[in-house]
Symmetry: C2
Subunit: 437 residues, 2 copies
């Protein structure tokens, strides 16, 4: 037992919100307390984020979905980012990350924090690097203290979780360089730190200053999401030495955080072929002491740009089935452009399909009941009930609009299998009015 005894904010949050937390995740209070204490579950909530909905991530809480939003140098439209934040909540996301890299990053972050009750995550390194890029300088020109200052500022402003690439070491970067990787280092954060370490001939400042970072995160109950800066950027690179070197480091860093009472999650791949997903997830979980695992996809093929939300749903469903806890969405815009509002919606829904598929397979009661409820509604041709169990009731109604008078779906019409076996007399809808009698 360690987290709660050392992190008074975390234990206060659990005490205050236990009723709602237990209800939304279908867990007993003692289950939640024990898991958070052991570091196998986190509760995302920084008290400085006004109105934040505390959110559980980790076994055996429900699988959660994160949506990334944020500006980029090539597309900077803060109003659109706020729209995406609202849409993400409506679509069913459980958390947001602001990955902005252009514009006034502090103002953008504060606007999003004010606009959403979803836990918000960031990557503080982006702000540090962008400050130098904006001046026409090298993104790795920053000093160690700038990192600490940025984390302090963001923690005080209410950021609930932060991706910090503390496990990228000089050894890891050299392993990545020497191992003949096809796509090298593909994490923005990992590559900036790789560049920094080479130019400064020094170890990763997120690692050397880890104790300072733990102090800041403890003071605000910021959950550290230990970033996977050396994650594979393509299927061919999955599972190489550089990746596992970092995972080993992340496990040790998670231990150090736990000893201080700081909550941590582990970030995972990435790009992983289907047959390696099980081994990746189980290996990462083993090496990180069962800490909550936050995966990006994984993408089970590299050649689906425009459909990466689908490739990511395939990998995400399997990852969650084998133990991943938190799915970062991928949108149809991945690898191509910044996601627009439609992409955000599509990405979240795809991740929810993956999460629901995994939870049903795991026998989680809420997911099983939802699938069963839908199936019974189908047998009854009860469209209102179907909508209530659907992952997107509005879409169901929209697609049914032209057939709203019919009981049967338009695929089978009069030959509806649901009605075929019942009744002595066949009720034959007239082709003219099409309405069920």
């Amino acid at each position: 037992m360690s987290i709660c005894s050392k992190n008074s904010i975390c234990s206060d949050i659990l005490r205050t919100h236990m009723g709602k937390l237990g209800q939304s995740d279908g867990l007993a209070p003692e289950t939640i307390l024990a898991a958070v204490d052991a570091g196998t579950m986190v509760v995302l909530a920084n008290p400085a984020h006004k109105g934040v909905t505390p959110t559980l991530i980790g076994q055996p809480a429900r699988v959660k979905v994160n949506a990334n939003i944020g500006t980029s140098m090539l597309v900077t439209d803060v109003a659109m980012e706020l729209e995406k934040a609202k849409l993400a909540k409506k679509a069913g996301a459980h958390a947001l990350m602001d990955l902005s890299t252009a514009g006034d990053l502090t103002e953008i972050r504060k606007s999003i924090l004010a606009a959403t009750d979803l836990p918000l995550g960031t990557v503080p390194l982006y702000a540090v690097a962008q400050r130098h890029v904006a001046k026409g300088k090298d993104p790795s020109d920053f000093g160690e203290d700038e990192i600490i200052a940025e984390i302090a500022e963001q923690a005080a402003s209410g950021v609930d979780f932060m991706t910090l690439h503390c496990g990228v070491t000089r050894r890891g970067v050299e392993l990545a360089a020497e191992s003949g990787r096809v796509t090298g280092i593909v994490s923005r954060g990992g590559s900036i730190l790789g560049r920094w370490m080479r130019r400064h001939e020094a170890e990763n400042p997120f690692l050397t200053r880890y104790d300072d970072i733990l102090d800041l995160c403890l003071a605000h109950n910021v959950t550290i999401s230990l970033g996977d800066g050396l994650r594979p950027g393509c299927g061919a690179d999955a599972g190489d030495g550089a990746q596992w070197e970092e995972v080993i480091n992340l496990g040790r860093l998670a231990d150090r955080a736990k000893a201080r009472g700081v909550q941590t999650m582990i970030e995972g791949p990435g790009h992983v072929p289907l047959h390696l997903v099980q081994g990746q997830i189980q290996g990462i979980k083993r090496l990180t002491g069962g800490a909550p695992l936050y995966v990006l996809g994984p993408l089970t093929t590299d050649c689906a740009p425009g459909y990466d939300h689908i490739a990511g749903a395939i990998g995400g469903a399997m990852a969650a089935y084998f133990g991943a806890d938190f799915l970062c969405y991928l949108t149809p815009a991945e690898h191509l452009t910044l996601p627009g509002p439609d992409d955000v919606w599509a990405g979240i829904k795809a991740s929810l399909v993956a999460a629901q598929s995994a939870e049903t397979a795991l026998g989680r009661p809420a997911a099983v009941a939802r699938d069963l409820g839908m199936s019974k509604a189908r047998a009854d041709l009860d469209w209102e009930a179907m909508a209530s169990f659907s992952l997107d009731p509005d879409l169901l109604h929209k697609r049914r609009a032209m057939h709203s008078k019919e009981k049967e779906c338009a695929m089978c019409g009069a030959l509806c299998a649901m009605r075929m076996m019942t009744g002595e007399n066949f009720e034959c809808p007239s082709p003219k009015d099409g309405e069920a009698k």
Copy 2:
């Protein structure tokens, strides 16, 4: 060795087209011949279908994708069906099924046959039943001879493969009724036959007349797709006695067909939770002697209407990895309405993502090379090469249009990881013109 020695059309097709077949599937002629002869692979092609592209389905041929099109009593627009047929080919489908149930079915089928070189499949029972429904009668009013006549007519007109629900028995129907299924019988064909057997108090005519059917199919090299009329219609029904009763029958029917030289495929589920996909596929393959397996999904959750192409891609990827050979697409319209052209496109692409994911995981050389080619193109920021390896080059160009001047993708812009580690001097794109230097 049996098929080729008894089916002269099939062996002629293999002889004539072996060069192209071997090339498109990356297989040696002897591999193809042995697999077709053993009944673990089929070559879809009815010589009466002018210009048809003979297509291999079965291990170790490449995983293929089928698109269902066709009218329904509630949506009858033949021009749209022809458009969907063309679009399906463009999107990358390898076969089509015409599932029309309204309008002049013979004319619709002939129009589609004339319009496509993809192998075309049908469900002759629909035409038989619809003829009675159109007269305001019960869909099960037909006699046995009507079935034989319809199959003969369709075989002569050039249909390349037919779904025939020969394995639905009275025992299977009673098992389905008694087992407390949530959604009963959900196959249109299975439910019509169930109704027929109950009303006529007789065994399934597709089973009792199976020898006549084999004669007709042999005469035109029509591949029989042994339909799964008792497939589970929801996750909760997957794997019950009725389903396996039918699979056992299908295996025996496939043996009888092979003994006559008739090519067969087996149709599979349906709705199957993630953790049961492996067992389902392996069980069906075992019971059917490794015959080519043609799956619909399987859907790994029931509550994703509007996103069934994604739930189907999750199940389809796993199914193909465990041995399924032929993926029937599911579109975003599944369970809701007839698919429109956009749905057809989305459904095929989702199935292709699943097929590519499975083939990469299986180490199939073409799939691995495609993923690797894409990954190398990414490392080089070579967008033309990325398009060439992409499952949808047009979509890639469309989504990139506003960034076509930039080398980097708009997600990272100046902080592009692909460029971060290379070069001493950081090339900083100006935020104003955004163009890479």
